[in-house]
């Protein structure tokens, strides 16, 4: 059983996603429970995979027993073992909390199809993380895009156009990725990542390799919403159903960021990515502009989902900055930021989902006095917001701390200033909401006629249902756990991504 765990993470979801619409035809409610059980078992398989990796080293799982350069293999090492558990944990929690919200926002007749697509999206993200084959990665990338198009289109007014724009941009991104694979195949005749890593150093000065590298950066950059290629992201996050925003915001861009790590560090050598071509300098500047741009745009937004979407663009900038710093601290900071941002953004979107479910509020100005109505949810909101700003001991503080150390040891003082400046901007847009929640008095329409001294008693506690509250609190605990145990996480998982001989 244990040896098959990497395949099980995917196969369980794949088989269930096939049966969900069929069983759902008979009984619509069963679709949700089937999906939940499948995601739970997939999560167990992911944990088993990570356990095997930690105890006995990286796993090379050969699909169908074919040896690597010809067959497709799943490679799970320390970094992506962690990412697999992260993705499946967040999907599991999102699924638990999404039940009521989906029942409210999606028409009953569409439930089985919705959950079927939902399972396919999670499995493709897990597949992208685990695969060791460039073309297999393309297939998973397209599966994740296709399911995301369908799920985003199920949203409210404006979702159709948002989804269509994502179709156009997403297929440009995937096509660029495919072209990159083609160029590498012309030059090397191989599609396996480990094999490519062995063959490529001999031909690093070939123009074909440069072009392939550029295609990969643009293709994956589009998928993860890297600054100049982010045009699809705000609309898609804003108009998608709340459950889908909650699923794709912490997982999809993070998986693409992981793929970015993988292509720069283990398909190409770091020596190539940083020394043969000046990719690092270019990416550093793009990331810096993206960090500031995302934060400033987030301040200007009125809709909370759109604000969080722009803040995602800024956070992706941090991860790319970590890679582009090209030193030990930067890489660790970037990788840790994948984890800390996934927890913080997942928690924030879950809270927004609960607030929309309970009150229908989307506009930031309407958050006034919400702490009296939903005290636990808003406490979690504060914690997640602190992590985004970077207040110790939350996860966001430590990943930003490593990034700052990276900029200092690389002597990029300007980038140090950019990170600190962006933390300040994050504080501006999160404290604006926290101030509304806690410090402005709640004047609802119900008690408009009463005296001002009375309204404290009038506001009844209307906390989110337990199914939503528990996942939110677990995510909040996760933010603290990633922060407090950051040295253990780095020691156990992330230290292995740093190439040998790097300062």
């Amino acid at each position: 059983m244990m040896q098959q765990a990497p395949a099980f993470t995917i196969v369980i979801l794949l088989l269930t996603s096939f049966w969900v619409p069929i069983i759902g035809m008979i009984k619509k409610e069963s679709a949700y429970y089937l999906s939940l059980i499948a995601i739970f078992f997939s999560f167990l398989a992911a944990c088993a995979t990570l356990y095997t990796v930690i105890t006995s080293g990286p796993i090379h799982y050969r699909m169908g027993g074919w040896p690597p350069p010809w067959g497709i293999e799943f490679v799970v090492d320390y970094l992506n073992g962690g990412v697999v558990v992260l993705i499946s944990l967040i999907s599991l929690l999102t699924t638990i909390s999404a039940k009521k919200s989906v029942e409210q926002e999606i028409h009953r007749s569409k439930w089985p199809l919705f959950w079927s697509l939902y399972l396919l999206l999670i499995l493709s993200l897990l597949g992208m993380t685990e695969t060791g084959d460039m073309f297999n990665m393309y297939v998973y990338l397209e599966v994740s895009s296709l399911t995301a198009y369908g799920l985003i289109a199920m949203g409210e007014r404006g979702a159709l156009l948002a989804s269509f724009n994502y179709v156009i941009l997403g297929s440009v991104g995937a096509s660029f990725y495919l072209l990159g694979v083609g160029y590498l195949y012309i030059a090397t005749g191989s599609l396996n990542m480990a094999d490519l890593n062995k063959i490529l150093p001999a031909i690093y000065h070939s123009k074909v390799i440069f072009t392939a590298f550029a295609f990969f950066i643009v293709g994956i950059g589009l998928k993860m919403g890297l600054f100049p290629l982010h045009m699809w992201l705000p609309d898609a996050y804003t108009h998608a159903p709340s459950a889908i925003s909650t699923l794709i915001a912490p997982t999809m861009t993070k998986v693409s960021a992981y793929v970015f790590f993988r292509i720069i560090l283990s398909v190409f050598n770091p020596q190539f990515s940083w020394e043969v071509i000046p990719a690092a300098t270019l990416l550093r500047w793009i990331a810096a502009v993206g960090i500031i741009y995302g934060s400033i745009m987030a301040i200007a937004q009125k809709d909370i989902k759109r604000m969080l979407a722009y803040s995602s663009i800024s956070q992706i900038g941090y991860i790319v900055l970590g890679i582009a710093l090209a030193n030990q601290m930067g890489l660790i900071g970037g990788a840790l930021h994948i984890f800390s941002h996934a927890f913080a953004k997942g928690c924030l979107f879950m809270i927004v989902m609960a607030v929309i479910y309970k009150t229908g509020i989307r506009n930031i100005d309407d958050f006034k006095g919400l702490n009296k109505k939903m005290p636990f949810t808003m406490a979690a909101f504060c914690l997640a917001a602190f992590s985004m700003i970077g207040v110790p001991p939350t996860a966001g503080f430590f990943s930003k701390w490593y990034l700052v150390l990276g900029t200092v040891s690389g002597r990029h003082w300007f980038l140090t200033a950019v990170i600190l400046m962006s933390s300040l901007l994050n504080a501006v847009y999160f404290f604006r909401i926290i101030e509304k929640i806690y410090f402005s008095s709640f004047v609802g329409l119900v008690n408009g006629g009463h005296g001002h001294h009375e309204h404290h008693e009038v506001v009844a506690v209307a906390e989110a249902p337990l199914g939503m509250l528990v996942p939110i609190l677990i995510m909040a605990a996760g933010i603290l756990a990633v922060g407090l145990f950051n040295t253990q996480i780095i020691h156990l998982l992330l230290q292995f991504i740093v190439p040998k001989g790097l300062a």
Binding site: F135, L146, A153, R157, L160, V167, I168, G182, Y185
Partner: protein, 127 residues
């Protein structure tokens, strides 16, 4: 001129790709955008198909009965085209068809709701 003619398959793929790219960016009609996307994907498929081809080579099936024992060294690789890029393109064609299908389904839904497929009109109705 020699430079262009000797690699004309790559030039054709680049020109087609740019035509598709132009349609996707510059056209405001959603159906035209989808057509541009199709041309873009077809260009990449042509690129892959042309990298597998060899001059004077035949389809990659051994010219001997299947029970005859042929030592692998005696097979001349230059006589057969490379089948792998073509097999990869089967997958890419399937993906392309599904993306086109999803895009067209979205256009139908957009038309039902806004009664137009012009992007400017839809944006005006949305604002």
């Amino acid at each position: 001129m020699e430079f262009i003619l000797s690699k004309f398959n790559y030039w054709i793929y680049i020109i087609m790709m740019m035509i598709g790219f132009y349609a996707m960016i510059a056209k405001r009609n959603l159906v035209k955008k989808v057509i541009g996307m199709n041309i873009f994907q077809t260009a990449i498929i042509l690129f892959y198909v042309s990298i597998g081809a060899k001059k004077g080579a035949t389809i990659p099936i051994l010219e001997a009965a299947h029970h005859a024992k042929i030592p692998p060294e005696s097979i001349e690789v230059a006589k057969y085209i490379n089948p792998l890029p073509h097999v990869l393109m089967l997958t890419a064609i399937v993906v392309g068809v599904s993306v086109t299908g999803v895009a067209l389904a979205l256009i139908i839904l957009i038309y039902r709701r806004y009664h137009t497929v012009e992007e400017d009109e839809i944006l005006r109705q949305l604002s």
